[in-house]
């Protein structure tokens, strides 16, 4: 299994061969089944994919929030700041990192904020837990954070309960909480999916500003390719538990290689505004396979328009595509990268 890094020096986070499985009576769901990715300081990495691809489970694995039972990280390393393997930390050690050096915001701010505590207290709680400050200082920090995220009259708002705020405001509170301890890394799991589009624009704008101000790196999880294009410098496309393609954002949109990535980009409705022509949408036929019952060979083989015999037999590895410049482009596909489809087809006809 190849590592997607090359130079392991200034990677803030490096995930190598992560496997997180969920065990149930119906079988084992291989939610994350060999995921490797890396993130530099100051970068925003977009993790994009559709339902069941494993992007949320990847984030929860990083945070040590996989419920056990039924879930378990069965393999891999999650290297934070080049030295700490998060998977091997004790619960106490992970608790020191969670909310402090690595924080997370979720899709539904109403269910992730505690409804019975005032928002000021919820932010102060995070601060007090991780930093040796007095209660008063923690509350002052709360006010400061609310101001930072653009909530007007923060000295009054700290006394509000979550239900008194709108969805956009609650998400700002979540961001305030997540940034209260100046984390090095923030995981944002579909942070704007539940919000109206004009509020989404506000929140994304805010996240970019804060990233510059606080210096936090971000892993942004979403299914929305428009949000990815706007926010991410690097993108990993996930499908059925693995990374299918990794590239910098411009390369991914201008030179996508994996048939799944191509399919996703082609599914987006586009209208030529000069002529008004509306091309019939190209679709990806079929549906995502069940994680309990993945196909042999490439996971995308049963839906791929470019499928070959080799694809149905063997699962390709994530392989580097030779590219000019510093950008790295990795694809998991027999048609690209080092893996050669000819040699596989050859051994097929030989046997």
């Amino acid at each position: 299994m190849q590592s997607t890094s090359g130079r392991g020096d200034d990677f803030l986070l490096e995930i190598r061969g992560l496997k997180t499985y969920f065990y149930s009576e119906s079988g084992t769901a291989r939610a994350v089944d060999d995921v490797s990715l890396s993130l530099r300081k100051g970068q925003t990495l977009g993790l994009v994919g559709e339902s069941g691809c494993g992007k949320s489970v990847t984030a929860l694995s990083i945070m040590g929030l996989i419920p056990n039972p039924p879930g378990k990280i069965v393999a891999g390393e999650i290297l934070f700041q080049g030295r700490t393997d998060l998977i091997n930390l004790s619960r106490g050690e992970m608790r020191k990192i969670r909310g402090n050096e690595i924080s997370m915001i979720f899709q539904e701010p109403m269910t992730s904020l505690n409804p019975v505590f005032r928002i000021g207290k919820q932010i102060a709680e995070a601060v007090q837990l991780h930093q040796k400050v007095s209660r008063k200082e923690a509350w002052n920090r709360s006010v400061e954070m609310l101001r930072l995220v653009g909530i007007p009259l923060p000295e009054k708002r700290i006394h509000d309960y979550p239900h008194q705020l709108s969805g956009g405001m609650r998400q700002r509170v979540m961001i305030a909480m997540a940034l209260s301890c100046n984390p090095k890394l923030m995981l944002a799991d579909e942070p704007t999916t539940a919000l109206d589009v004009t509020i989404q624009a506000q929140i994304l704008h805010l996240m970019n500003q804060l990233k510059k101000a606080v210096g936090t790196s971000i892993i942004l999880i979403t299914h929305d390719l428009g949000v990815i294009a706007k926010m991410a410098q690097k993108v990993c496309v996930m499908y059925a538990g693995v990374v299918m393609e990794t590239a910098d954002v411009i390369t991914l949109f201008t030179n996508p290689l994996h048939p799944y990535t191509l399919g996703l980009l082609n599914s987006i409705p586009r209208v030529d505004r000069n002529t008004g022509t509306k091309a019939r949408l190209k679709t990806i036929e079929g549906t995502v396979p069940s994680l309990l019952n993945l196909p042999v060979g490439c996971r995308f083989s049963n839906r791929c328009p470019k499928v070959h015999e080799a694809c149905r037999r063997w699962e390709p590895e994530l392989a580097e595509v030779p590219a000019g410049g510093h950008s790295q482009h990795w694809v998991r596909c027999w048609l690209h990268g080092d893996a050669s489809i000819k040699s596989r087809d050859q051994s097929l006809s030989d046997s």
Binding site: H223, P269, G276, I284
Partner: protein, 339 residues
């Protein structure tokens, strides 16, 4: 398209929901979900209706198919006011307009088989015998891309996209003329969305359907619609052909909405228009023009004067804004658009 007759006409429609603002007050407050909407849809057309939460688009859709009773106004279907009808008359007319729901999980009865769900409208209207209904349901399964063996399965055995196909088949069962699609693809993954959009477009051609397509995803609406109406806090603020609206949005809200929709192309630097504040509450809408609290061009008149009316500023391009001519540098006499 312009020669096609008007199928549905909505006149000054209002739907207010009562709410008690405080426990001691005797007069209830009102949630003005739909606050004076005028719009018409021609046969064979797709009218897109966009707006954010609380704008009233779903309520409008539900009133059109008589799932809600309006507070005021008229809905004329083929010239007949459907809101005055009751009982048997309403029932026979209701076959002509159907509804596709947003949530493919809650809109199908989990205790009925797929065959039962799709066949239920036929049963309700006593159409054909059991064998005829069965045959019709199989035809519909085929038309929406499902298989014959799905007839006896239950909704929980299907994915979101497949369930939406079941909902569409059910909506087609009575051969309606008009289908109100309420966010039919929002709950689906992007690659499934495109399958369902293609299906809806194919069905429109095959069965000569008219759609009122309600959605918040602007790129989907642009693709699907012939004309688009933008709603804000219970009122329509702009209506134009799809091409015209997306190329030349006139209302500041439409412009902000379009600017806010992220474009899946990292090489394009789109104009950033970040609206301040939240979407206001329909219980307590702002005075005058509802949008003035967030409008980058708001003037005193916008706050103080009563809300402007929908005005045809260019041929077939309607807008509700008293300052549009100044903001957009439009001359008083405008040349007709090329559409």
């Amino acid at each position: 398209m312009a020669e096609n007759k008007v199928l549905l006409e909505i006149k000054n429609l209002k739907k207010y929901f009562p709410t008690t603002r405080d426990i001691l007050s005797k007069t209830p407050g009102w949630i003005k979900a739909v606050d004076g909407v005028d719009i018409s849809i021609r046969q064979g057309e797709t009218l897109g209706l966009v707006g954010e939460s609380g704008c009233g688009k779903t309520t409008l859709g539900r009133v059109v198919v008589c799932l809600e009773e309006p507070t005021a106004g008229e809905v004329l279907f083929e010239g007949q006011n459907i809101l005055g009808l009751k009982g048997h008359q309403l029932r026979s007319l209701r076959r002509q307009f159907q509804f596709i729901f947003q949530d493919p999980y809650s809109s199908l009865n989990p205790r009925k088989t797929v065959g039962g769900i799709i066949g239920e409208p036929l049963l309700n209207y006593e159409i054909g015998g059991r064998e005829d209904r069965r045959r019709k349901v199989h035809e519909l399964l085929d038309v929406v891309g499902l298989r014959p063996e799905h007839y006896n399965r239950y909704p929980h055995e299907f994915s979101g996209g497949q369930r939406q196909r079941i909902g569409i088949a059910r909506a087609l069962a009575l051969n309606p003329k008009l289908i109100v699609c309420d966010e039919p693809v929002s709950a689906l993954d992007v690659s499934i969305q495109s399958q369902i959009i293609n299906l809806l477009e194919d069905l429109q051609d095959e069965f000569d359907l008219t759609y009122l397509f309600i959605a918040h995803d602007l790129s989907v609406v642009e693709h699907v619609s012939d004309r688009v109406a933008v709603m804000y806090l219970g009122r329509i603020v702009e209506v134009a052909s799809s091409l015209e609206l997306y190329r030349h949005p006139l209302h500041p809200y439409t412009e902000a909405l379009l600017a806010a929709s992220p474009i899946p192309d990292p090489t394009i630097e789109s104009k950033e228009i970040i609206l301040e504040g939240d979407v206001p509450n329909p219980i307590n809408p702002p005075s005058g023009c509802h949008f003035h609290t967030r409008c980058p061009h708001a003037a005193d008149a916008c706050r103080q004067e009563p809300a402007p009316l929908l005005d045809e500023i260019k041929p077939s391009h309607w807008i509700r804004c008293r300052r549009v001519k100044e903001i957009r540098n439009l001359a008083d006499s405008v040349r007709p658009s090329s559409f």
